[in-house]
């Protein structure tokens, strides 16, 4: 089918401007929904970054002296093995420690350059049976003074609170984003329906003179596509802005723990691409379905 570009551009433009209010409403709804999806993902990523050491129920890390004797380490491991309070434990070698370090400081390459595997301590990551504060404190004291142990650190309350708070926030964002996306779908559907209703006489004539269904549908699908595209572009812009504002603010106040919440640009780019693809796909499928649905006017 030869497609007349002039025709398609003209019709799509007319449709977009005929229902200008609805078009804007659809675009804004798409944008809000995608911003919420994006923020939800960013909170997750940030939280994972900020609490990378404390995942999978790890509450205690026992760092050993660099010059710990094999016998001492053996004894420590046996003690962990026998301790009924310990649910699981994991030995972290120098190499693994360096891998962890590289992951934790991936935003600060100068830190990674300054460190090599040799100077990092080996450690045991411990998952206790009871993650309550009292038993963790007791375990910490138990291992602190053992021979060959350099230091025992535990995930403190701040981290736990942060994990649960931001986890909740991220889930909430996602729920609201879901509702927003549903609203966007309904709005786009309705916009296309209105556009088709406004043009029902033209569609009737088009069908009578033998325009193919695809030919009739394409301007409406493009209308949906443009709404999705503009909405998701605005969403991506907002997320970049949000991320850099957050970065500036945290830097100014010197809040180090939260600084990890600023997501590196690489992650942001892939997120943006996904958001745009998602937004456009949803809008286009939705308008195609609507256009087919209402083609029998």
């Amino acid at each position: 089918m030869a497609l007349n570009t002039d025709y398609v551009v003209r019709e799509t433009g007319t449709n977009l401007f005929r229902n200008f209010g609805l078009t804007i409403a659809s675009i804004i709804t798409v944008m809000i929904a995608l911003v919420l999806v994006g923020v939800s993902v960013l909170i997750r990523t940030g939280l994972d970054q900020a609490t990378a050491q404390w995942q999978g129920g790890i509450e205690l890390i026992i760092f050993m002296e660099p010059n710990i004797q094999p016998a001492q380490r053996q004894a420590l491991q046996q003690s962990l093995e026998k301790n009924p309070e310990v649910k699981r434990y994991q030995y972290v070698s120098k190499k693994e420690a360096f891998d962890d370090f590289k992951r934790l400081f991936k935003n600060q390459p100068e830190m990674i350059d300054a460190v090599n595997a040799d100077i990092l301590p080996t450690s045991y990551k411990v998952v206790p049976v009871n993650p309550d504060i009292a038993s963790i404190k007791a375990m910490r004291e138990l291992y602190q003074d053992r021979a060959g142990v350099y230091q025992v650190v535990s995930a403190d309350d701040t981290i736990r609170t942060m994990q649960s708070l931001f986890g909740f926030l991220s889930v909430m964002c996602f729920v609201v984003a879901f509702a927003g996306m549903a609203a966007a779908i309904v709005l786009i559907f309705n916009t296309i329906r209105m556009a088709m209703f406004a043009r029902r006489r033209e569609i009737e004539v088009m069908k009578l003179v033998g325009a193919s269904n695809w030919f009739i549908r394409i301007p409406f699908m493009l209308e949906g596509l443009i709404q999705g595209l503009v909405g998701s572009a605005l969403a991506v812009g907002s997320i970049y802005l949000f991320n850099s504002l957050l970065g500036n603010r945290l830097e100014k106040r010197g809040i180090e723990l939260l600084a990890d919440f600023v997501v590196p640009t690489g992650d942001l780019t892939s997120l943006s691409v996904l958001l745009v693809i998602g937004g456009v796909a949803v809008a286009m499928i939705c308008s195609a379905v609507a256009a087919s649905f209402y083609l029998d006017v």
């Binding site: 089918m1 030869a2 497609l3 007349n4 002039d6 025709y7 006489r201 033209e202 009737e204 004539v205 088009m206 069908k207 009578l208 003179v209 033998g210 325009a211 193919s212 269904n213 030919f215 009739i216």
Partner: protein, 225 residues
């Protein structure tokens, strides 16, 4: 060119619009469908361009059973069938030229074809001087001429006309009939549903009379009765 084979169409609520209809229309014929309102004239026309489907029987157009046509091929069937209606179905926001050009644009005809075909057809229907006017600036007869121009601009094999003079006075109707006759003389098969006794009796063409969905008369060079 057109063949109805035992065609039956029943609308919702058991309204029988067409009952076991048979007829055979040759290429280049001019056929009047006559009968009272509700006798099945419009149903025959709507069956021909597949706006509706029959419950039984087969309809052939140019030798092909259109009941077996897949839905994506229906537009191609319609490109070979111009349609003219009592209410013109012109687009009020487009000029005469644009209304006719629209029919070519939406079937993907290239611009240079549109630019040569549209003025030629407007000349044929006698509206060359009004191509920049909007439909509501034209008389009923002129509007129907635009509608005929739009139906014929793609040079279809068949022209279907559903009471094209239904809204027009007699003098204007004569002009429209002359135009349809001229189109018929180019070899286009014309099927026209009408209530107008005068037109049928003057033209003396083939007449198919319908009564409550049945073909009761099929007469060469017939009259209205």
């Amino acid at each position: 060119m057109i063949k109805f084979e035992n065609v039956t169409k029943v609308y919702k609520g058991d309204v029988v619009a067409l009952k076991d209809a048979n007829c055979d229309i040759q290429k280049g014929e001019f056929v009047f469908l006559v009968g009272t309102t509700g006798s099945g004239k419009s149903t025959m026309i709507r069956l021909l361009n597949k706006q509706i489907e029959p419950q039984a029987g087969r309809i052939f157009v140019a030798g092909k059973d259109i009941g077996e046509l897949s839905s994506w091929k229906v537009p191609y069937l319609r490109r070979n069938m111009g349609c003219v209606f009592q209410d013109f179905k012109l687009l009020s926001n487009k000029t005469v030229y644009e209304n006719v050009a629209f029919a070519l644009e939406v079937i993907g005809r290239p611009k240079h074809v549109v630019k040569t075909q549209v003025p030629a057809i407007l000349e044929l229907v006698g509206l060359a001087s009004k191509q920049g006017n909007y439909p509501d600036e034209l008389s009923g007869g002129e509007q129907q001429r635009v509608s005929i121009a739009r139906a014929f601009v793609n040079r279809p094999l068949i022209l279907l006309a559903d009471e094209p003079t239904g809204n027009l006075d007699q003098a204007t109707s004569v002009g429209i009939m002359r135009l349809l006759d001229r189109i018929n003389r180019t070899g286009t098969t014309v099927v026209m549903a009408t209530h107008s006794r005068d037109i049928v009796n003057t033209m003396r063409r083939r007449v198919i009379e319908l009564d409550r969905g049945s073909i009761v008369r099929d007469q060469q060079r017939g009259v209205y009765e």
